[in-house]
Amino acid sequence: MKILKTDWKKAAALVTLVMLLALVCLLSISCGGSGGQDSSGGTGSATIDKYVNELDSQVNSVSPGDFSDSNLSDSSLGL
């Protein structure tokens, strides 16, 4: 009877351990799914951020104000 009681305790501890391990695995998978490492090993989010920053800089390097209508005002044409 005492032996049976000890086995039951061991089994319960084992099940708890397995459940904990499964939880850890699930957590790591859910974290890795968004913005973590991609299939090729590099971080996709970092790559995207790099391109966004470069494009921001290129697009903002010129201003539509370069074609302001003041360039063709009477005074600028000497009229």
Binding site: G33, S34, G35, D38, S39, S40, G42, G44, S45, T47, I48, Y51, V52, E54, L55, D56, Q58, V59, N60, S61, V62, S63, P64, G65, D66, F67, S68, D69, N71, L72, S76, L77, G78, L79
Partner: protein, 184 residues
């Protein structure tokens, strides 16, 4: 006798001096009032033509900077699409965005060329002497300049409201191991 001679000589000299400016004035060609007006108009027209050339040079310089920036941005976006497709991202939307953006660059270049043509046309008309043709050409150029400015605004706005969010949205994807089609 001597006194008389001196007085006569002095009188002759004074008469000659008094008459000299009048002689000089007669020898210089006198311009008529219409001629003077024409000369003033010609000088003003030359000045306006010079100003238009300056404006065109400034616009050309600005246009070159814009085209260089747009080409660099387009190349970078193409690069991003290729790299992200290789990593397994679905870049279908971004590829379509690039195509639409490219169309905007083409429109900008065409509208800019029209603006310069209108300014060159205005240059050909002498201001005040072409029955309003000069004024009309300048007015058309001003309207075209508004279009060119709007094109530049549209290019920037499309990047900020469409391309940038679409690129950022790729972060929500969980890329597959097999590369997606880049569509380019």
């Amino acid at each position: 006798m001597n006194k008389h001679l001196i007085v006569v000589t002095a009188a002759l000299l004074m008469a000659a001096l008094a008459a000299c400016p009048a002689c000089l004035a007669q020898t210089a060609p006198k311009r008529s009032a219409p001629e003077e007006r024409q000369e003033q108009k010609d000088a003003r027209a030359a000045r306006i033509t010079e100003r238009i050339e300056l404006v065109i040079a400034r616009f050309d310089n600005n246009k070159e900077r814009h085209v260089a920036a747009y080409n660099a941005a387009k190349a970078r976006l193409k690069e991003a699409i290729t790299e992200l497709a290789e990593k397994g991202y679905d870049v279908t939307r971004l590829t379509a965005d690039l195509q639409a953006w490219d169309g905007m660059f083409v429109k900008f270049a065409q509208d800019y060329a029209t603006l310069i043509n209108l300014l060159r046309t205005a240059e050909q008309y002498a201001p005040y002497e072409s029955q309003g043709q000069f004024a009309a050409a300048i007015q058309q150029a001003r309207a075209q300049l508004v279009t060119v400015r709007q094109d530049a605004l549209d290019i920037r706005h499309y990047y900020q409201t469409v391309i940038r969010p679409d690129l950022q949205a790729l972060k929500d994807q969980n890329p597959s191991s097999s590369p997606a089609s880049s569509g380019t």
